[in-house]
Symmetry: C2
Subunit: 124 residues, 2 copies
């Protein structure tokens, strides 16, 4: 069995598309239009597991709710310094500044996507 | 940049491990023990994007909360019929029975994982 995708609901699809395609270099590989929403499938260069953005035509006024069962999505970067510059030019800030996590042997940091989902950045 | 993993918090790690390794044939590829939790990284056969199960030592009594910003994780199966048999023998039930989704050209169904996260099953 294959792990195909992770679906998240987005309130402002333009903002989310910018976030995932410009900040994380993902590509839009498929769009499905349904009666009540449009589904956008984004892929990284490896193209294995995708992120599906669901843009419902009707969205809750104060946005979707973030529970605590779902934790985060994680992306690997070659250079945390370069990513930091990109993040800044994108007008975003770390919610948790980069630090070395000894147990994982990686430098990690956290940001939030436009819908408040936590995103982990990992530099091995 | 590479889409590395999706993290979810689990209340009963044995139950969740059974669910993801036995029902979805994922493999435990890495474990990291921290002061307050253990992180279990599961991979499918392609091994690209992983699922990270976070087992905190202290968990909320009534379990983690499922928001609606996060939607689901999706797995691809070769045969929905075979999966249905496996699901039954596993003591689980569909929360949404298999149906053909014309717009996607796939048969899809939904179940829930032990923490209430929605899981989509897709047969192309």
């Amino acid at each position: 069995m294959k792990f195909l995708h992770v679906m998240i609901r987005v309130k402002d699809v333009d903002k989310s598309m910018d976030f995932y395609t410009k900040l994380f270099d993902m590509n839009l590989v498929r769009t499905i239009t349904l009666d009540d929403c449009v589904l956008y499938f984004l892929s990284d260069q490896d193209g294995q597991t995708q992120i599906e953005l669901t843009a419902n035509f009707e969205t809750p006024e104060d946005g979707y709710k973030n529970g605590d069962a779902f934790g985060h999505l994680a992306f690997g970067v070659n250079s945390m310094d370069e990513f930091g510059e990109k993040l800044k030019s994108f007008g975003c800030e770390y919610t948790c500044e980069p630090f070395y996590m000894e147990e994982a042997g990686s430098t990690i940091a956290f940001i939030k996507d436009p819908d408040g989902n936590e995103i982990e950045i990992i530099q091995d």
